[in-house]
């Protein structure tokens, strides 16, 4: 019984001919490496000497003995939170505002999306200069003009601000992408629904919370999942701008894993950290589905 078979007379071979090449590439590049990481996480190996089976030692070390790991984990959560606020909050705000605009929507969409086209290396360069204090960068100059001179600082070498400073560019970069998606969902909300609500005297806020948002909820869940999984894999910008420093104050799990693998060549422990990152992503997706779906049902 095969409900979605469209061709009545296709051979088993033909299925394999079409299915095997994509599965081969996908297996080699994605599936097999995941299993390999899982396997390596039970070994101690520097890439040269013999691999040594250590059982759960790497996991014990990670959870119990490694302060940097926990620091990086908390940093990664904060990084994620900042990205989510900027990306999803910014996206929802701009998309909602955009629907009340009559002209120039296309232009604004294009302009807003521009940063998404630019490589992270270019963005890292750009923001190093925006944050700089000598010569004075855009941010410090702006603060100076607003009379907030006391806030001027070298944003990337101040341990209190560096994490926010490396998170903001990532948020800035992709907010346009999420705005597009949410905007497309918002303009698909049936006009009759909104008009009926307005006739009933609903305020803008009620209109948004009672009509628009419930309607776009499925798209909102998708964008939240996208933004969260992208946020958890964030790497380029912190790696390029500060390499996790000063100290460990902008270290994320991804940068820590990368350094463990390719600077300390501790392949086993690096694999343990990447297994943790994968589980973290799966848990995050599960949580989002659980929380947002449950709310929808109630």
């Amino acid at each position: 019984m095969q409900p979605n078979r469209m061709l009545p007379n296709r051979s088993r071979t033909s299925v394999l001919v079409f299915l095997l090449p994509p599965l081969l590439l996908y297996g080699a590049a994605v599936l097999f490496p995941i299993l390999q990481s899982l396997f390596l996480s039970f070994f101690s190996w520097n890439g040269i000497s013999d691999m040594e089976f250590v059982g759960l030692d790497n996991y014990v070390r990670m959870f119990v003995a490694d302060d940097i790991f926990w620091r990086a984990f908390l940093n990664a959560l904060l990084y994620l939170a900042i990205c989510l606020v900027l990306q999803l909050g910014g996206a929802l705000l701009v998309a909602s505002l955009l629907t009340s605009l009559h002209r120039g929507r296309e232009l604004i969409k294009t302009l807003y999306l521009l940063p998404a086209v630019i490589s992270t290396v270019a963005i890292a360069f750009l923001f190093v200069r925006i944050y700089s204090i000598d010569p004075v960068g855009l941010l410090n100059q702006l603060l100076h003009w607003m009379g907030l001179g006391s806030l001027e600082r070298p944003w990337l070498s101040d341990v209190n601000t560096v994490l926010a400073a490396v998170s903001a560019p990532e948020g800035w970069r992709f907010t346009g992408l999420y705005m597009l998606i949410i905007y497309a969902a918002l303009i698909a909300v049936p006009k009759e629904l909104e008009e009926a609500a307005v006739l009933d005297g609903a305020s803008r806020w009620t209109l948004f919370t009672k009509i628009r948002f419930p309607y776009i909820r499925p798209v909102w869940i998708t964008t939240t999942i996208m933004a969260t999984t992208y946020g958890l894999r964030g790497f380029d910008i912190p790696y390029l701008m500060t390499n996790g420093g000063p100290g460990q104050s902008s270290e994320l799990l991804t940068t820590y894993m990368y350094k463990t693998a390719f600077t300390s060549t501790d392949f086993g422990y690096a694999s343990t950290i990447s297994v943790f990152i994968v589980i973290e992503c799966l848990v995050a997706v599960g949580l989002i589905l659980f929380l947002l779906k449950r709310k929808a049902d109630s």
């Binding site: 469209m6 090449p21 086209v117």
Partner: protein
């Protein structure tokens, strides 16, 4: 992922004019406020890029001493000359082009084949295969770095174009499979039945019916993936060492080191040169690209 049933190629998004606009209301506070707010946010998005370009035209002294917001006192192309002298920008752009093309060919071709097998041919475990592809959307790319590094050195693939193309294509494949699958759902069964009655087998039907019909989706898949592949940093940085193979992100990163000191105006000139190709494509095709992103996400 979580999707609403959406038509395969999204209809032209024409923002319906709200009723209010025709009634010529007196200017209202909310509307004015939201306009100002939108303008502010757009400035935050665009000004840094404009500033990047302006800085690339400044003289070095002007950049080192001046107010960063001021317009450059005099324009100079010298930074561009220095940028081309120090880096191998042409080579970097060519490499990025090769990697982007290679990965896109794989993503499109293999994505169509997998979707054809899953959606059109159908087989018992097709649900399982779909699920396997879902993993690749959620899982972060970093998981593959260490294993691929080890595997590549075992089969001598380190420091090649393939070492970048394989993982870039592999991690983009799931999205492509999903896009093609959701498009193939909308090709009516009768089309295939008619062709089958005429004696066409699965291969001919793929080449003569499915492939030509997929062109719109191909454009979407290519545009969306190209942004990520063209700008990939992490795979290139991990697997490529030789100057000859460096893509744009690596070439740019090299810039600073190669110059001993940080020559910011020349670096910004290099940045401007390297973002131009993709930016041009984006500005020319932005309608198609924007639609691609919208549909890519709502269906992914």
């Amino acid at each position: 992922m979580i999707t609403q049933a959406a038509p395969a190629s999204p209809p032209e998004v024409v923002p319906p004019r709200p009723e209010v606009s025709r009634r010529r209301r007196k200017p209202n506070l909310f509307r004015t406020l939201s306009r100002v707010l939108i303008m502010l946010i757009v400035i935050v998005q665009v000004y840094p890029l404009a500033w990047l370009f302006l800085t690339s035209l400044r003289t070095e002294e002007d950049f080192a001493t001046g107010d960063p917001f001021a317009l450059p006192g005099s324009l100079t192309w010298e930074n561009y000359a220095r940028a081309f002298e120090t880096g191998d920008l042409g080579r970097n752009i060519l490499n990025s082009f090769v990697v982007t093309m290679g990965a896109n060919v794989l993503i499109v071709l293999l994505g169509m084949m997998a979707a054809y097998a899953i959606q059109v041919l159908g087989f018992r475990l097709s649900k399982l295969v779909r699920g396997l592809f879902l993993i690749g959307i959620i899982v972060p790319v970093q998981i593959a770095l260490v294993p691929l590094f080890i595997d590549y050195s075992a089969v001598n693939l380190l420091d090649t174009y393939q070492s970048m193309i394989i993982p870039l294509a592999g991690f983009s494949l799931p999205m492509s499979v999903y896009l093609f699958c959701s498009f193939y759902e909308y090709i009516p069964k009768e089309t295939y039945e008619a062709a089958s009655l005429d004696g066409a087998g699965p291969y001919r039907i793929f080449g003569l019916i499915t492939l030509p019909l997929s062109l719109n989706t191909v454009v979407t898949v290519v545009l969306v993936n190209s942004i990520f592949i063209w700008n990939d940093f992490i795979f290139a940085n991990t697997f490529v060492l030789s100057e000859d193979l460096k893509t744009i992100p690596l070439g740019l990163q090299n810039y600073i080191g190669a110059m001993g000191k940080v020559d910011w105006t020349a670096t910004f000139a290099a940045v401007c040169v390297t973002i131009t190709p993709l930016l041009l494509v984006f500005l020319v095709l932005n309608k198609a690209m924007i639609q691609g992103m919208e549909s890519g996400a709502t269906k992914g």
